[in-house]
Assembly symmetry: C2
Homo-oligomer: 374 residues x 2
Amino acid sequence: MGQFEFSILSRDSTTAARAGAFSTPHGSFRTPAFMPVGTRATVKGLLPRDLREAGTEILLANTYHLALRPGAEVVRDLGGLHAVMAWDGPILTDSGGFQVFSLATLCRISDDGVEFRSHVDGAPLVMTPESCMEIQANLGADIIMALDQCPPYPAARPQVAEATERTLRWAARCAQAQKNPDRQALFPIVQGGEFDDLRAECARRLVAEVPSPGYAIGGVSVGEPHELMMRAVEAAIVHLPADRPRYLMGVGQPRDVLGAVRRGVDLFDCVLPTRNGRNASAFTFSGTVRLRNLRHERDRGPIETGCDCPACRHFSRGAIRHYFQVGEMLGPILVSLHNVRFFARFFEAMRQAIAAGGFDKFEQDFLKTVDSVA
Amino acid sequence: MGQFEFSILSRDSTTAARAGAFSTPHGSFRTPAFMPVGTRATVKGLLPRDLREAGTEILLANTYHLALRPGAEVVRDLGGLHAVMAWDGPILTDSGGFQVFSLATLCRISDDGVEFRSHVDGAPLVMTPESCMEIQANLGADIIMALDQCPPYPAARPQVAEATERTLRWAARCAQAQKNPDRQALFPIVQGGEFDDLRAECARRLVAEVPSPGYAIGGVSVGEPHELMMRAVEAAIVHLPADRPRYLMGVGQPRDVLGAVRRGVDLFDCVLPTRNGRNASAFTFSGTVRLRNLRHERDRGPIETGCDCPACRHFSRGAIRHYFQVGEMLGPILVSLHNVRFFARFFEAMRQAIAAGGFDKFEQDFLKTVDSVA
């Protein structure tokens, strides 16, 4: 695995939470780690410097979206994703599987791969494990994901079982087809829906059949309740190697993150910081602040007292509310900046709590004060 | 005039161009100076730090827009415009006159003032010289503008003459009604349309009747050809005191700026850098670059070689084109950043050419290489 070293630096005393670092050809990131989402090679509205200053150490970009526009070969010709995004730190690309099943139309799935039509212009496209690897080689991220089949929630057991089997076969083909194992770590994805035994079997067989520097748990955050998500994590994670990072895909609600970290998850991504930011909804350690609310009209205070983000250091709630009321870009920019910084502070606090052996208390205290339904 | 000192530091050898500095309670700015436009208390998409780093020394905000939303008293309660915008340098607010006549509906003008309906919600409003001064006192900019009547172009002489007379009477009432002459410099505005004698008379009488730390030339950049704009400047400027700054309102096309600077104008504002930036049109010293053009698709080069703006230092033309193609905010942000930096470099180059006594050659060389029709 060469460049891809996972070091566990501390373990919590009463939970399975652990804190560490994962190294990549573009530097290392500390875990538990949060990845802001740069769907189309940009975290919406934010410059790379702002992300770096907010404490972001790794970004996610979307294979499906970039394969459609501008095209993976265009990204390659522009020097790869790091050059396009002007981000010299670690980047992870998802496989595109999730977007194919959620955004594309007229999906036709076979063992070979998936035929679908672009949600942009209806163009017919095919993605196979092999083409998925080729696209991600052209994009050039440090961590790439195997093509998986993500069943909807809820789904009947036979359908989930079939998707899980296909995910296993595709993961093996991805490993075979991978172009740059020295420069790109391939993470396979555990599927299995809400069925514990399918989750467990998928995890076991992936580890046995597709040895990898890290593993992901997918097919979550698709509408299921918190408890089911936690069960899916538990069913899979006991079968995943303790010395490799575990990535819970698409999860970012603080309550879900806390529950996953206490069960041993190391890596997360979610659009919440920027999506909520664009909707004037700010995360704070004392709950959600909705900046459009009239009560902020003449409020000279910051979004969150004590926050060191550029929005809180320089702008009042009243000013930010005004920007949203008149539709100025600066509103979404400022609240996105704040939310990205909030997530960095949240994850830093989790790492410190783990190092101090007090994650359980940290989680309880956090949930007492935060309205986690953002 | 106390805080408002204008120092002329150098004069060109063969034109009327001069370079200097104007001091305000929030620091000084060098002239010729360009003001990016922060219509609604934000230069669209840009953080104050980015503006400062781009070389911006003074910003403009719009009285009309801010009086409608969030309201001048809300701005006052939030600590004034400098606090709202998080900008501690000089700010100028226009009078709102131009917007009342161009944006509002159902304008009814009388000697008392102008009745109109808000373009936002149709609410009936009145602006008088006195209320204009009160609004601008609440906003708290360093330089404020007298309420003027800006006739359309073209307009018949009797209509322009009447607007000019009213502008003169209103300027005197603004001077009477001004709240904070120690902290806010009031600039009256020369009107007179395309009629040289009206321009000259307006300038002469404003100087005689409304002694002020600076004067503006308004009613330009309303669709008239370049030559008529230059004639309007010439007709007015000979009657304006040489030791006070002259501000040509709403002008920003490089060809117009150059022609005005050579005639002795010191201050400009224009939406072009940010409006064109949002439309993927970049100013460079070798002409306009349209970033949506297919030829930039795989171009790894910057918008402009040698430019030190964050867009040119870090992002390729290909990446920026992609952001515009998919509608990502980062496209408008990056090209706006570049254009604001371009204008700062352009004005810095003019100041240097003036100091070196070579403005005429600078203008000729510039116009040879730049397509000034952006």
